[in-house]
Amino acid sequence: MTATVPLPATPAAKGGGRAVRTLPFIAPSVAVLLVWMIVPLAMTLWFSFQRYNLLNPFLTGFAGVENYQYLFEDPALWSALANTLLLVGWVLVSTVVLGTLFAVLFDQDFFGRGVARLFVIAPFFVMPTVSALIWKNLLMHPVNGFFAYVSRSLGLPVIDWFTNIPLTAIIVMVAWQWVPFATLILLTAIQSLDRDQMEAARMDGAKSIALFRYIIVPHLMRPIAIVVMIETLFLLSIFAEILVTTSGGPGVATTNLTYLIYVRALLEFDVGGASAGGVVAIILANIIAFFLIRTIARNLTA
């Protein structure tokens, strides 16, 4: 999935006003990037208007909006869109909340802080497929899983995560992978908070909660916006975790847009239909990016 990100309006870098003309220097890289982006985008667009199914090589030619019509009439698309948004939204909420709490916690001085910080960062270095396998087989498995063991020991009913609450299970898993990223960014942000400001607040009578609410959180708004933006771009295209654990199921309960395109293209061999899905994904990513960049740009200039 490609997201072409609209940049906030910056003062135009005109070659004429400067002493050195910069265009010749940046032109090669701009050209390469443009080709890099434009070629796949153009091909996707092209295929999305073609009859192109690998199972039937004789069915070719211009399809008009047929692929799109078929896609929009398919209830799987709407559920995939909803799943994508739910997945992105809940992972964002949980990583930002947990990341903020961890950042505040790991900013405190305590014995073994260095090691603890290492552990909280560690999930970020685990490959998505590996982490998905671990969650599926060692933690959430209804028979052998650790959670099931805990439930049984406490006499509680065992949850079959990937059958009963599959999307929640995926959200938990993905959030686990992304909390370190949020923690890392927010921790460095907290450390850049002016020490005098904290002390002034302490003298003004701000205790832990007020300090958090009135000083730390406002200071973190900007880095949080950055975390949200970067995570969103990655979360829109979550794939490995779904493939490894639920394969989009049960039914289409955990099929997001990326996974739907995969199913269309590589399981049903309908390249045209998959390309139409890809175009929808690009449009979705652009809509989200537009709003994100706009809020963040306002945040950065404010």
Partner: protein
Amino acid sequence: MATVQLKSVEKAYAGHKVIHGVDLEIRDREFMVFVGPSGCGKSTLLRMIAGLEEITGGDLLIDGTRANDVSPDRRGLAMVFQSYALYPHMTVADNMGFALKLAKVPEAERNAKVAAAAKILKLEDYLDRKPKALSGGQRQRVAIGRAIVRAPKVFLFDEPLSNLDAALRVQMRIELARLHKELDATMIYVTHDQVEAMTLADRIVVLNAGKIEQVGRPLELYERPRNLFVAGFLGSPKMNFVETAVQSADATGVTVGLPGGHSIKIAAKPARVAKGDRVTLGVRAEHLVVDPAGALVGRADVVEHLGGEVLAYVDIGGSMVVAKLPGHDRIVVGDPVSLAIRDGGAILFDAKGEAMPALGA
């Protein structure tokens, strides 16, 4: 009423002592200035009073009650930081009213207090702005306003003017003096700038390497420094020091040799010295006058015409002394100069650097 007392207060960081037993009493409504070179422990001392640093040893008494373990917001103090430490996401009004808001003061009363402080500091037109949209001097005033609004018993300032440019610094210095009169509050003020100390203080504490060197009124310290450190730290240009030896000492004074073979008799009590002891002669630049019969003979090495006065750096056989001469003096580099010391203008320091008392003192 607001007094602050320090009783052999000590501070150590990880076993390394930076404040060595400070005893001090700050009186009600006094403007007390802590002055000393960078790193001597001024900020540490102030921060211990504020409650931002743990007190390692000794007692802190505020209004006679031990306050070592009282939390910073309950000591009745307000602090103005060198970096201003304004809350960047709050407006000027919110910055100033933050403490009251946390103390759950009703909004109407809070606004009234903020408005009153803004009036004193001429900030009325800026109440809705964020700190970023203010100049350095305005930010400084907001920081002071934040302290005023709390109506503290004691104001603490940690080098509040050192981030301002020279002209603004002079202006703010005057405003601070006015503010002290207007608010009638006890103030403790830290600076490394001896001019600020001399101009603002009711009393000055000179600190050096975590110890108090001397406490007293500005002129008292200037005229009767207790030792070489205080003598050298206060005053600009720096006091002249000439290393020399005692030639004779009796009830009428102490006679010391000078470079170039002359000698001079100083009206100091002879008690602690004998012939041959090493001493340091200290003379302030304004106590040197051109006099053909003067005992300090040399050549002008550097001459600075400042308009109202002339600073002449004179080489007297190896040591350099600076004399402050009237502005109309037309002395030029290379001129031979003879300088005499005005009566009572010299101080002798013994080998340990302690000032020797004057005769009749």
